[in-house]
Symmetry: C2
Subunit: 343 residues, 2 copies
């Protein structure tokens, strides 16, 4: 298995291309893109410029795509979706982007997706406001859905995103993290928003509770899997693949799955790794290099791959509840793509 | 007329006390206070501590009080309100507070209402997240109202708040501001949120459109009046009354009503004031002192008082649409209080 190329792909013969999967919702994603750049709050050209600056950096649009694929897979046999599904997809990406813009202020990041960040190009001040503006645009979208249960779902998602970030901040260099805490944090930070999109799409289709609940579980498990792969890539990918220094989670004292697996061995390797974290040696180039070496040499990668596969399997199993279709196949292949992504 | 004591009170014999006005909604405001401190998103004690830190600083709770007074004045003759009105009041204060927390990060402020700000006590990072958390709590409240039109109103308010701040940022040291721009900015920054609370209360009471629309106009005009008085106090009050340096708007290049009135005279005083702003001399202690002197000596205060009275009158006139009651009297006296406030 080539760790550098594709960390979790060992079980898969020909990994799917994301582009091919997204083709199934190509027209809808074009509408989403246009909508993302629309100023919904006033008629100021500067606000349009700001939105343009934020969204021209691109991004995979994974969350809107998942929501749209679920919308089609739970719609009629022709996979028809309506304007509300587009708004839902936009809303989901707006919340994701708002949290990224605020993260970049918090971390003083200067590049995101190869583009200058708002804080770098303009100022921290404007970046805080830009994040708020994106949340405001999301609220306007939410209002347009006119669907109280979906308002409730997204209200909780916003809370989860903040709670997850605040907890993560407070758990830096805390060693006695357990698996529950780790998975819960992954839900708050990532899976909760995935699930909101995949759950709300069948709600808009007036699907039965059983389908809504299954699609929520699909998003939740896929989101956890996505976060685990993210945490794995931090250990296995090169800095150039990641666009940030490898090992940056651990160097900030964030204990994720690969580290947790080694720490719970309670052997010599675990003791040394614990020492490197406790003394904050992980924050230095040599310290992080040694730590990553320990993790790779002591099964941290393999165990994390297995963990990701468990959540991938759980995501896939939920799909049996919805009728067979090309869109359901895409949702199935999306799980494979997630396991093979390298950035 | 004693400018230092009560800038806009010349027309009023015995200005009402805010405490006496708030007595009419005392029980409800106690519930609001409890709710503001409740963690609605998860079970983390640290998040409760954060909310406690934010809300223990107090504040007048003017926005929730106005919303509750309108709720009572547009309810049955006994002035009964329900749980939804409490949630609406909480929601309104949460949005106000979230925007203050982000403003404090943006301005690197260390004190707010006599308490250490979140950015000062913890960090900028946590303060950005705390503002986001308060917006998230507001979204949870909004969801609980289960009322799509109110979701729409508050979505627009969030947009207005951001658009107002972003425009204000971009208009620093811009001299050719016109009255439309000034009033529009006051609506975005302040009056839009006032109006959301006073408009949504009768919506929850299932009032006729005429009443809803009148109460929206009440909040809008009162909010503009509030902002004008704020801008006036920046020129007339002492630094100790304001809890910040007097003239701080103008020293940052923000052109508000008292300055606008002098600038539009196009005489020698206007030319000198324009020069002080253009050369950014207003940012120095001597420059701001001279500027404030020019404004006070050339009718800037009196004209602004008149402008505030115009909006106060417009607010008051809307009240004829609702039946006479002690609560309507409070709403009427609230206008007087606003004109006489000194901080």
């Amino acid at each position: 298995m080539s760790i550098q190329q594709s960390p979790v792909s060992s079980a898969i013969a020909a990994p799917p291309e994301l582009g091919a999967l997204l083709d199934a919702v190509k027209d809808e994603l074009e509408l989403v893109e246009k909508f993302l750049n629309s100023n919904l709050v006033d008629d100021s050209p500067f606000i349009e410029e700001l939105l343009g600056q934020v969204f021209k950096a691109g991004g995979k649009r994974l969350r809107p795509a998942l929501s749209l694929l679920v919308a089609k897979a739970t719609s009629n046999p022709r996979g028809e979706v309506n304007r509300l599904h587009i708004i839902l997809a936009v809303l989901t990406e707006l919340i994701h982007t708002a949290s990224l813009v605020h993260d970049d202020v918090i971390d003083s990041a200067s590049l995101r997706r190869g583009q200058e960040t708002v804080n770098r190009k303009f100022s921290d001040k404007l970046a805080v406001l830009t994040g708020d503006l994106l949340f405001a645009q999301a609220s306007v979208c939410l209002a347009r859905l006119m669907n109280p249960p979906i308002v409730g779902i997204y209200g909780q998602v916003l809370g989860d995103l903040c709670a997850g970030e605040i907890r993560q901040m407070r758990q830096q260099f805390v060693l006695n993290i357990d698996w529950n805490t780790y998975i819960q944090k992954s839900i708050w930070k990532t899976a909760s928003l995935f699930a909101a999109g995949t759950q709300s799409a069948p709600i808009l289709n007036h699907c039965k509770d059983e389908v809504v609940s299954a699609m929520k579980q699909y998003g939740l498990n896929l989101g956890i899997c996505f976060q685990i792969v993210d945490d794995l890539l931090d250990v296995t990918a090169s800095s150039s693949q990641l666009g940030k220094p490898a090992g940056s989670d651990l160097s900030q004292g964030l204990i994720t799955a690969p580290t947790l697996f080694v720490l719970e061995r309670k052997d010599e390797a675990a003791a040394r790794l614990e020492q490197l974290i406790k003394t904050r040696a992980v924050s230095s180039a040599e310290g992080i290099e040694e730590s990553l070496e320990i993790i790779r040499a002591n099964g941290g990668v393999e165990s994390t791959v297995n963990l990701a596969h468990n959540y991938a399997r759980a995501a896939r199993e939920t799909l049996s509840v919805i009728p067979a279709s090309s869109y359901r196949d895409c949702l199935d292949q999306m799980v494979d793509w997630l396991l093979t992504r390298t950035n």
